[in-house]
């Protein structure tokens, strides 16, 4: 579609696309050299107030969401759309055109050609050729015109859309990103164990978001390797609606909880100074207490008192606790337990189940991104589009059968839009095979 509109031609040009992509690539280096999204004071300290002011003026401190960077991405998108609209009709014609109607002069121009004569009559050639070509994988149509008999076969004409699929996939990914940005949010929650909340603090604003349901952290734990490297961070989360438990899931890094389009990721943690105690008498259901180090806790209904009188920690983790425990049956007892371990002991006629652990808050990253599936569709389309664009080619083959007195002349023409070298070999092999057999 040749247009005389200079505006259209500008946006349809490959030069502009290359220029824009180049600009995006080169400018994006800035954000890898200058730390992003730091407070202004940071840049003043680091680069001096004058440079810092320029950085802020040019949005170098948060460049990937700056107006000029987004404008470049927008320009690339418009370019891709206009370019595709501009070229697709030509491609569509190449896919759907009637190749048996091409003028003979055009056929002459195809790079690959071979010709030979045979003693067989024209009619014999016309009846045997289709089968021979079918064996080589070519489905053949034929037509009588201009005093000749023309055969035509092609492979994978639709592979020409590969490049459009790749360009479309980029637009789909951008669409998904914008849709997710407009309809989703990203934020965090710090949930102390045994507490619940329905409020998320978004990263990009000072307001808060109400989830419409409640998330409770039942438990948080860290597991370590023998060399003290963290092995896993784990939180047991419960989703509650109107105080009803809806879902319960143990999340880890890489295995988040999803509920109503909102995903909760294990992101961080924070140790607290108080402790959580779980205590039960014989088979009764357990009661949970919280309390600080070296403070006496009273379980009034059973007339029990207990507390932590000493502890051993590894870094900020309390790993062993010395418990002081008293009930009406006798002298108080003191004993060491591992943090989090449930122990069973007997005092007088009573059997107790008891555990104690340091209290943590789990840091959750909360994200709602309804655009992510659009982005993933774009990803799949991009990979398949690249495969089609690079590894599949539209191959065409014409055979012109002419009667020249006692002999029949066979002229072969071939063309491919990709992988010239590979097709040249196959074309020559086919021509040789036909010549030998006829």
């Amino acid at each position: 579609m040749k247009s005389s509109n200079p505006f259209w031609n500008f946006f349809a040009s490959v030069k502009l696309a290359l220029f824009t992509l180049g600009c995006i690539a080169v400018t994006s280096i800035i954000g890898t050299l200058i730390p992003q999204k730091e407070p202004m004071q940071f840049y003043v300290n680091q680069y001096g107030s004058k440079v810092a002011t320029y950085f802020q003026l040019l949005d170098f401190t948060d460049m990937y969401t700056s107006w000029w960077f987004l404008a470049l991405l927008g320009l690339l998108s418009i370019n891709l759309i206009v370019c595709s609209i501009d070229r697709f009709p030509i491609t569509w014609k190449q896919i759907t055109q009637d190749n048996l109607e091409l003028p003979l002069e055009r056929l002459e121009k195809f790079r690959l050609s071979a010709s030979f004569n045979t003693q067989l009559s024209e009619q014999e050639v016309i009846t045997t050729l289709p089968n021979m070509l079918a064996k080589a994988g070519w489905k053949i149509e034929s037509r009588n015109r201009d005093g000749i008999h023309l055969f035509f076969g092609q492979k994978m004409p639709w592979s020409r859309i590969g490049v459009y699929l790749v360009h479309l996939s980029i637009l789909i990914i951008f669409t998904g990103a914008v849709y997710g940005q407009l309809n989703g949010f990203r934020g965090s929650m710090m949930l102390p164990e045994l507490q619940s909340s329905s409020t998320v603090f978004p990263f990009q604003s000072s307001s808060t978001i109400n989830l419409g349901f409640t998330v409770k952290c039942e438990r948080f734990e860290i597991e370590f390797y023998d060399n003290n490297m963290p092995k896993e961070y784990r939180s047991l989360l419960t989703v509650l609606e109107d105080d009803q438990v809806i879902v319960q899931k143990e999340i880890e890094v890489n295995t988040p909880l999803k509920y109503e389009g909102i995903t909760f990721y294990q992101a961080s943690y924070q140790p607290f100074n108080d402790f959580i105690f779980t205590i039960a008498e014989s088979t009764n259901s357990p009661t949970i207490f919280t309390g600080e180090f070296q403070k006496e806790i009273k379980w009034l209904e059973n007339n029990v008192s207990f507390g932590i009188i000493n502890l051993e920690s590894v870094r900020d983790q309390a790993v062993r606790l010395k418990i002081w425990f008293s009930d009406p049956t006798g002298e108080p007892s003191e004993f060491w337990i591992d943090a989090g371990e449930m122990i069973e002991f007997q005092r007088g006629d009573s059997v107790y189940f008891f555990s104690a652990k340091q209290r943590y808050a789990t840091g959750l990253q909360v994200a709602k991104d309804p655009g992510v599936w659009i982005v993933y569709v774009g990803f799949l389309l991009m990979i398949s589009g690249l495969y089609v664009a690079f590894f599949m080619s539209h191959k065409r083959l014409w055979l012109i059968i002419k009667n020249s007195g006692t002999k029949t002349q066979i002229e072969i023409r071939g063309s491919t839009n990709k992988n010239q070298a590979g097709f040249t070999t196959r074309f020559q092999d086919l021509a040789t095979a036909l010549e030998n057999e006829l």
Partner: protein
């Protein structure tokens, strides 16, 4: 025999491969060429065993993870992929001379992995963020791409040498493949690398989304992988739409490779250095 010993041996075998290919090239000893190929294939086998052994050792240590998770292991795998890809190209195009320009990269990678004091060679367990099935998919796909770009850069250098001495009658220049052939192979290898890099970036994005809820956050690694991707995207477009060939493509192959190395290595050691300096 443990994996470190075997990997140490691999370093020297790749050095020896490089020497064999070079002697074969300079003295045109065709028989030596075959020896070079077989020797390199054996070296690759030894390295494969070493990587497998390291995997097994990690299970013995109770850690149990793929040997693809730190700088040392990735450099080793990088060398492995370069040689595997090179041998495939040699077999496909029957051009042994390419070995002179690609196997040295594998040797340099292995030498860096074995001799550098900056990188930790021990088998350490995985921090929680790395414990994902996406890890293997992401690392393997990226490194197939990186290896292809390395081979493309080697071919680019070969092209420029031949092109600069185009009128030379020296045997050394004449025995290089024709400019057209080098150009075509460079292009094919770049296309191959581009597809794998694309898949590598995509698997990384999907992984990031499953771990942190963000498929793209413009961190320096992501940004540089995008820059690399853009360089090759531009290279493919100027070839298809503007008919660029030959020396320009060869230079772009080298530019792309520099970007690959910066994405892979520079971001970890230079930018993070800048950042940690910046935040202190």
């Amino acid at each position: 025999m443990d994996s470190s010993t075997l990997l140490g041996i691999t370093t020297f075998t790749y050095l020896f491969s490089t020497v064999l290919y070079t002697i074969f090239y300079i003295f045109k000893m065709d028989k030596l060429g075959k020896v070079a190929t077989w020797f390199t294939a054996t070296a690759l086998l030894i390295q494969t065993i070493a990587i497998g052994l390291r995997w097994w050792e990690s299970y013995e240590m109770g850690i149990g993870r793929a040997p693809l998770t730190n700088m040392y292991e990735s450099v080793v795998f990088f060398a492995w992929t370069i040689v595997a890809l090179y041998l495939f190209i040699e077999w496909k195009f029957k051009l042994r001379i390419i070995g002179v320009f690609t196997v040295p990269f594998a040797f340099l990678a292995m030498a860096y992995a074995s001799l550098s004091t900056d990188i930790n060679k021990s088998i350490t367990p995985l921090v929680p963020a790395l414990q994902s099935n996406w890890l293997i998919a992401h690392v393997v796909t990226c490194f197939i791409g990186y290896a292809a770009f390395t081979v493309a850069a080697g071919l680019g250098i070969m092209y420029l040498i031949k092109n600069k001495n185009a009128s030379s009658t020296s045997g050394l220049i004449n025995s290089l493949p024709s400019l057209k052939v080098i150009d075509t192979i460079t292009h094919n290898v770049m296309v191959f690398g581009f597809i794998w890099l694309t898949i590598g970036i995509i698997t990384g994005a999907v992984w990031a989304n499953s771990a942190w809820g963000r498929y793209w956050s413009w961190d320096p690694k992501e940004t540089w992988s995008f820059i690399t991707w853009a360089i090759y995207a531009i290279t493919l477009h100027v070839r298809f739409t503007r008919g660029w060939q030959g020396p320009r493509i060869a230079w772009l192959a080298i530019l792309g490779f520099i970007s690959v190395i910066f994405t892979y290595y520079g971001v970890n050691f230079l930018l993070s250095g800048l950042h940690s300096y910046g935040s202190s």
